[in-house]
């Protein structure tokens, strides 16, 4: 496997603020890579370090093995889909998409053909003469994608690509982005704060917090074996228990996580621990039940049609052996 992008002990400071803190990261060619983290975690700065809009304060970025620190953005084999699309308002869709070819001196006729092909790829054929202001959010997103792909980059960067779209459109675009990535076989690196998006689209995820990469791995590894409390909490609102509570639940004395969907409810006295129902929230296909066990809250996600005692009612909790996942203490 070729390495597309590598961070080697890379930091980026803005004055006293450390946006990216000694990051080591390897992104393989052809992967669909997600940088996941809360806002301010440094993920967008990482993306800008790859595109070249920021330069590392320390360390370096390699793009296909080449030290990129002194290569300006316009000469990197990388293109970006910007967060708010950044379409040129004075150009029509065709000219927006063909912009990368125009600045490279490709003749007008070839530019038009190629822009048409790219618009077909993103399912916007026939929209070439419109202005960006005449398009919906989803259509603008597609134009931004076509414009970034026309230069045939080896790496495509996407900054919160679906952030501005509504739920239904977001799900549709997730499938399409995945399909386009598989068709073209190029590396996609996208930044998101939405763990659901990262889990469903990426084949590798780097979870970031406070400028550092906390964990990298496949979605399944991240979800099932979070390395730290932060990851467990951020990726899928897990139950996180300090050592003393884990022990009282009959598990090992260590920081542990327990996925809410592995917990089921039983009549009082029949399960592992007893508690009482604090709240029930209806989520459509499922329900999220919060149960107080002594003075600790435990969340359980159960099928929407399973019976739940009223608020304050006694209940017992059951989970399969081995559900508790032990984590680092940080």
């Amino acid at each position: 496997m070729t390495v597309a992008v590598a961070f080697e002990n890379t930091s980026r400071h803005f004055g006293a603020v450390v946006a990216v803190d000694r990051v080591d990261l390897v992104i393989e060619e052809g992967s669909f890579f997600a940088m996941l983290g809360p806002s301010g975690s440094g993920k967008t700065t990482c993306l800008r370090l790859i595109s070249g809009f920021e330069r590392p304060s320390e360390g370096l970025i390699r793009i296909f093995g080449e030290d990129s620190n002194d290569i300006p953005p316009n000469r990197r084999p990388v293109n970006t889909v910007f967060q708010d699309y950044a379409l040129f308002p004075h150009l029509d869709v065709d000219d927006n998409v063909a912009y990368g070819l125009m600045v490279r001196g490709v003749p007008r006729g070839r530019r038009k053909d190629e822009a048409g092909r790219m618009l077909e790829l993103v399912k916007l054929g026939g929209y070439g003469r419109r202005k960006p202001s005449e398009l919906s959010g989803g259509q603008r997103q597609r134009v931004a994608l076509a414009r970034a792909l026309i230069n045939r980059p080896r790496v495509l960067l996407l900054d919160e690509p679906l952030g501005a779209l509504d739920l239904k459109l977001r799900e549709q675009m997730q499938d399409e982005l995945k399909a386009i990535q598989e068709t073209l076989g190029i590396t996609f690196i996208f930044v998101t704060h939405d763990q659901g998006e990262a889990l469903s689209m990426a084949d590798q995820i780097a979870v970031m917090n406070e400028g550092r990469v906390i964990q990298t791995g496949s979605p399944r590894e991240i979800y099932e074996h979070p390395r730290t409390r932060f990851v467990a909490d951020f990726v899928g609102s897990s139950n996180v228990f300090p050592p003393e509570v884990s022990v009282s639940f009959g598990e090992a004395e260590a920081w542990s996580s327990l996925r809410p969907e592995t917990v089921s409810l039983a009549p009082p006295g029949t399960g592992r621990v007893d508690g009482h129902v604090v709240s029930v929230r209806y989520l459509g296909a499922s329900k999220r039940v919060t149960i107080a066990v002594r003075d600790h809250l435990v969340a359980a996600i159960i099928a929407a049609d399973s019976p739940v005692p009223d608020q304050g009612g006694g209940v017992s909790l059951v989970w399969p052996a081995g559900s508790f996942h032990v984590m680092d203490d940080d």
Binding site: F53, N74, Y99
Partner: protein, 301 residues
Amino acid sequence: MLARLSDTLWRRPGLFILLLLTPPLLWLGIIYVGSLFALLLQSFFSIDEFSGLIRYELTLKTYYELLTPANGDIILRTIIMACAVTAAATLIAFPIALYAARHARGRLKAFFYLGAMMPLWSSYLVKIYAWKLILAKEGIINWVVEGMGLAFVLNAILAFPVIGGNSLSVSYIGTFIVLLYVWIPFMILPLQAALERVPEPLLEASDDLGATAGQTLRHVTIPLALPGMIAGSIFTFSLTMGDYIVPQIIGSSRRFIGQAVYAHQGTAGNIPLAAAFAVVPIVVMAFYLWYARRRGAFDAL
């Protein structure tokens, strides 16, 4: 009483807007458009050569008079000067405005605003007379140029026919320099405002797609700043067209439109011809705006 009034205005927002807009509309309607119309009307009257009295009959006679060689020269001279000043103001103002909008921060930015606005604070006449001293044969420019042993360069420039003269202060070059100085803030400020509104991500997108800095300037920055540039050029162009004091004090004795209007409505008492002269800048500006609009200069608005 006041509460009832405020309730009424809240229920009828149209009435409120009408109350707010009436005074400015009266001002604009009567004082401005009205006098403009009166001016236009005057230009279609003519003057009786013998009695020197105005004949109140609609005629195009005054406009024929406008096209005589002597008057045509005045119009042409003024338009060329206005074009030259506008072009030079755009060229000089653009880098300044770009720097102020994109790179200057904090105190440097405050310094820029001060620098651009300061010339507007002092009296117009004081500035022009100061320039007369600067440009005069005994002035500081001549002194510096001579001190550097470059007098022959200045003399070569002044030896050019038409634009040259005895010294800078009595040549078209002098008129041009002073007009440029006086009106350039009106180009810098709108241009700077327009450049400030060009979103940073668009410049990054251009860079990301492979454009050089020059290509980004040409294909993104300038097209998006064009409305500001047009606004600035309207100011510098029309202000230069109408100026009658700068060419009076600095330059050769040949007249500009402003001076012609001043002379004809004053001592000569030929109001119709003065009015016809005053219509020229209006027509030129209207044509310019129509052309700019047709070329899509305002599409980015």
